[in-house]
């Protein structure tokens, strides 16, 4: 058994047919972590002891109930990693920041609780940009995570460790958060499938907040099918999260996606011209266009559409998100828990100050409220486009993984990395990132399917068809070394 070749579904088959025990499977992942963690720095905390205890419990369940056990626990025996923004009871949770170094939560985040109750086995907490602030993993106070495909390069961010862990097969899947692209970006850089659910679909309770009107709790795995399975466990209204809901949308596109689901072939796939323009590396653009060609072969209708507000996304987001984070990070006073505010890293301080300024008296209207109004305009862009097409296809990032240190010294340049993921985040839409190919240098290039709110089923349908006809997502790293 080679865990590199296993998706969650494959692992479940092996476990159900007793080809391998949960303890053996968990040990296989733990062995890989021991070998590769020094090279990748994907984890902040590894909880091997707890994982093996849970594995023993899982084997007990299988011994007792056989295949019935998997009906009760749909993820029984599957080792997973959690981004260190997710509170895990009794296990250190740092949010990637020195401010929470040593912090041990008294409770599990709802997502963690649901995954554990489904029988999944938490194997460790993954590295991330502190507080979710970043698009590369370089803003972690615990050192950057390295891309398994080229150790000199970033794995993307802010769910950097989660991506590296799944890409290197250190876990079968990993949780992540996507506020402005933080699941899709590392999925794209590491050849993974990553889901940013509709805002409100998955509970935010127990997850360290970045921007409360934008944070989406999602995950990274090797296949679209795996992502669909994980969502079925994590989604759903949570009384502890007042913004969680089923099918609630600020604009009436609910009926739009329902129509799309009922529609027989062909589905209409829109390529927003602004996402393939001057600011996007040509190789990335061409790779995603080739994927569009593939979708056309599979029977979908491809057409060019326009999202003219795209160029205003970064400015809007980098007023709204820092404002919300300046408020959310004010609870870290170093008095009741955590370390003093002097422990905040550079990017955290930058965003807190940007937000404080934008919200302060005399500036609120010109900055924060202005950005909220432009947000409305950006949402309207999507409402118009989704009356013409069912789903959008676009690149995730303007380039493939860059070298560590190449971009981080220029904050504004790093912010531009999110240009293709921000607009869908501002609109709270569903977005699925999946592998589209490789660059000449052998670096993964990802693409994203974007749909109206609550259209995940549609995205899974298109994505699954694409993955049945291609095998980019099956490629794994064979040797871990510096490449270029």
């Amino acid at each position: 058994m080679n865990v590199q070749e296993l998706s969650i579904k494959d692992a479940l088959v092996l476990l159900q047919n007793r080809k391998v025990s949960v303890v053996e499977l968990t040990k296989a992942y733990l062995d890989r972590i021991e070998e590769l963690q020094p090279k990748l720095n994907a984890f902040i905390t590894v909880c091997g002891k707890e994982a093996l205890e849970r594995a023993k419990w899982a084997d007990g369940m299988i011994a007792k109930d056989g295949k019935e056990a998997f009906k009760k626990y749909p993820l029984l025996g599957i080792p997973y990693a959690a981004k260190d923004l997710f509170c895990t009871k009794g296990i250190e949770t740092t949010a990637g920041s020195s401010v929470l170094r040593g912090f041990i939560p008294e409770y599990d985040a709802t997502v963690i609780k649901r995954l554990n109750e489904a029988g999944a086995i938490l194997i460790g907490k993954t590295n991330c940009d502190a507080w979710g602030h970043g698009a590369s993993g370089e803003n972690s106070d615990f050192g950057p995570t390295r891309n398994p495909w080229d150790l000199e390069r970033v794995s993307g961010g802010s769910s950097s460790g989660s991506a590296a862990a799944v890409a290197a097969s250190l876990a079968a899947f990993a949780t992540g958060t996507d506020t402005g692209g933080s699941i899709r970006n590392p999925a794209s850089f590491c050849n993974l499938t990553g889901l940013k659910p509709t805002y409100g679909r998955v509970s935010r309770y127990g997850v360290v907040s970045f921007a409360s009107s934008l944070d989406c709790m999602g995950h990274l795995a090797k296949t679209v099918e795996d992502c669909k399975l994980i969502l079925s466990i994590t989604e759903g209204k949570d009384p502890f999260d007042a913004t969680s809901a089923v099918g609630k949308s600020i604009f009436s596109v609910e009926t739009l996606h329902a129509t799309s689901l009922r529609r027989e072939h062909p589905l209409r796939v829109g390529l927003p011209r602004e996402y393939f323009g001057e600011g996007v590396n040509k190789e990335v653009s061409d790779t995603v266009k080739a994927a569009a060609g593939k979708l056309e072969e599979l029977g979908h209708k491809i057409e060019e559409v326009s999202l003219p507000m795209t160029e205003y996304g970064v400015a809007t987001y980098y007023l709204l998100a820092p404002s919300e984070t300046s408020s959310n990070l004010s609870r870290y006073d170093g008095i009741r828990y955590g370390n003093p505010r002097s422990e905040f890293g550079e990017e955290a301080k930058r965003r807190i100050m940007l937000g404080t300024y934008a919200l302060s008296a005399g500036y609120y209207d010109a900055y924060y409220e202005k950005a909220q109004k432009v947000r409305t305009l950006m949402i309207n862009d999507f409402v118009k486009v989704f009356s013409k097409v069912d789903v959008l296809l676009a690149p995730v990032a303007p380039c493939s993984a860059f070298k560590i240190g190449e971009v981080v010294s220029d904050p504004l340049r790093m912010y531009m990395m999110d240009v293709l993921t921000i607009p869908s985040s501002l609109a709270g839409l569903a977005a699925l990132a999946l592998p589209a190919g490789f660059s000449k240098e052998g670096l993964p290039v990802g693409m994203q399917l974007i749909g109206p709110q609550w259209s995940e089923e549609l995205l899974f349908k298109v994505g699954k068809k694409y993955q049945e006809a291609t095998d980019w997502h099956k490629k794994v790293v064979t040797t871990f070394k510096v490449v270029t």
Partner: protein
């Protein structure tokens, strides 16, 4: 290299340049309860000014008749039924009192 994108310059054509003074940076830091050393004040002065200059871009848009979006769920007044859920109450052996561990 990550695809020759890093040279792309076009987004940074600023319309208005915002330049924060040292005093403004220190005031922001004070409001945010962050202590900055001199070198940091200079560094953030430049970086924050850059970002604030860039976001002036939003002034290209006429939003006089646009309503702000506060959240995308459309939810309002998320209440639960006013029914007692015994499973959520803290257990107490002392009847109508709460029992806790001794502090002293």
């Amino acid at each position: 290299m990550g695809g020759g994108w890093v040279e792309y310059n076009a987004p940074f054509a600023n319309i208005i340049s915002v330049k924060l003074s040292k005093e403004e940076v220190l005031k922001i830091a004070k409001l945010a309860k962050l202590k900055l050393i001199d070198a940091e004040v200079i560094k953030y002065q430049e970086q924050l000014s850059d970002v604030l200059s860039y976001v002036q871009k939003l002034n290209e848009l006429d939003t006089a008749d646009v309503l702000p979006t506060l959240q995308v769920t459309g939810l309002k007044n998320v209440f639960r039924d006013d029914k007692v859920d015994k499973s959520r109450s803290i257990g107490s052996k002392a009847g109508k009192y709460f029992e806790t561990e001794a502090i002293f």
